[in-house]
């Protein structure tokens, strides 16, 4: 029982093209045109050809069978309903009806638009700026949105360049500034949540222009840098605790910043050396001057008598 000529030609075209395009596989064909079906409907000469091919080939698989029999011959001898079943299976797969997923296209658009907006945010601070829009679309995370909404505005004029300028001052000046400035930035520091991102940004920016090692301490010491960059960790730096500072800086900045750790030590070393060097120089030449000029010894009551003696 073979299909009419027109239908057979249609099956030949459709199945042949599906195999050619990879939409159907020989396994799909043999799933319907099983060996039993072939044995029942294929003429003996075709079977003889198939057996010879299988015996000759190192491996017998569906492709070999279909290639040997050929699609036109299959469609000529295999019952049309079976061919149709095969074709329908391929079409089902091609149309994706194996999955019950017609709604996805409707749901897809909104999330696609949102991630696009989020993806546009290149860095952490910018993400914070875009956060409000995201939260507006999705009320899932309202709390962080409020916090972020405030931050970005304060950060928007983020002076990524400031860290560089703040990095420039020499260590000698920094020593004085540290004692003066450090406490003040600690108080205005409250905008704490920002610091982490700015520090990274500062480091990333600092990576492009070659920054000298001693330049890094300022971000915490400088007032401008304190406002823009480090808010939360500044109090630690402002505490003027040398040991803690070093720890805080090392923690805040990734290990990639060699200069950060180096400068921390340098700052403290510079300050100590500055205090040490002055007395050493004075010992040689100005000891006499110090004893003679008592005006300089203002508050020391206990020392005066000794000198008088």
């Amino acid at each position: 029982m073979t299909a009419p000529a027109g239908v057979r030609g249609f099956f030949v075209d459709s199945l042949g093209r599906a195999l050619e395009l990879g939409l159907a596989t020989p396994d799909d064909v043999l799933a319907h045109a099983t060996p039993d079906v072939l044995a029942t409907h294929l003429p003996r000469p075709v079977w003889a050809k198939l057996l010879a091919a299988c015996l000759t080939a190192p491996r017998t698989d569906a492709r070999l069978v279909v290639d040997t029999i050929t699609v036109p011959v299959l469609c000529e001898w295999v019952p049309a309903p079976l061919l149709w079943a095969c074709l329908a299976q391929v079409a089902t797969r091609a149309l994706g009806r194996g999955l019950v997923a017609p709604p996805p296209p409707l749901v897809a658009p909104p999330p696609a638009a949102i991630p696009a907006a989020v993806a546009s945010a290149p860095s952490a601070p910018v993400a914070a700026v875009t956060a409000p829009s995201v939260t507006a679309a999705i009320p899932v995370t309202p709390a962080p949105a409020s916090a972020r909404a405030v931050e970005p505005r304060a950060v928007e004029p983020r002076p990524v360049v400031e860290p560089r300028t703040a990095i420039e001052p020499p260590t000698a000046e920094l020593a004085a500034e540290v004692t003066r400035v450090a406490p003040t930035p600690a108080r205005p520091a409250p905008p704490a949540p920002l610091p982490a991102a700015p520090t990274r940004a500062a480091t990333s920016d600092g990576a492009r222009p070659v920054e000298p090692a001693p330049l890094e301490p300022p971000p915490s010491t400088r007032p401008g840098a304190a406002r823009t960059t480090l808010g939360a960790r500044r109090p630690q730096a402002a505490a003027a605790m040398p040991a803690r500072r070093a720890d805080a800086r090392t923690d805040a900045r990734p290990p990639s910043n060699r200069a950060a750790t180096a400068t921390d030590f340098e700052i403290e070393a510079d300050v100590g050396e500055a205090w040490r060097k002055e007395p050493e120089q004075v010992d040689d030449d100005q000891l006499i001057d110090w004893s003679q000029s008592e005006e300089t010894m203002t508050g020391s009551e206990g020392v005066a008598p000794e000198r008088r003696r």
Partner: protein, 101 residues
């Protein structure tokens, strides 16, 4: 499977079905209704269909399919619609053991 491959396959089936007279242009337009065509065909093709019909003095299924070729159908019309057309034709031909997907 890629979309292109699926389009080419459906184009082949539509072309073969018409060539083998499994279904006729009228059968195609029974599924690819004016609404489907108007919704899915690009403006230039709609214009072309109308212009050809105006030039011939009538809009017949054969004339529509002269412009809306199997390739065009596979490219622009929903494949589900095309498959309904094919399945219906196969059912009429009595080769359908089961139902279309």
């Amino acid at each position: 499977m890629s979309i292109e491959a699926r389009e080419r396959w459906f184009a082949t089936m539509m072309e073969s079905g018409l060539a083998q007279q499994i279904f006729a242009p009228a059968d195609v337009l029974r599924h690819a209704t004016p609404e489907v065509l108007a919704k899915n065909l690009p403006p230039e093709l709609l214009s072309k269909v109308l212009a050809a019909s105006l030039a011939a003095g009538a809009m017949t299924p054969d004339r529509v399919l002269e412009t809306v070729t199997p390739d065009v159908m596979a490219r622009h019309l929903p494949h589900e619609v095309l498959w309904e057309c094919i399945a219906a034709a196969a059912e009429r031909a009595g080769v359908v053991g089961g139902r279309a997907p």
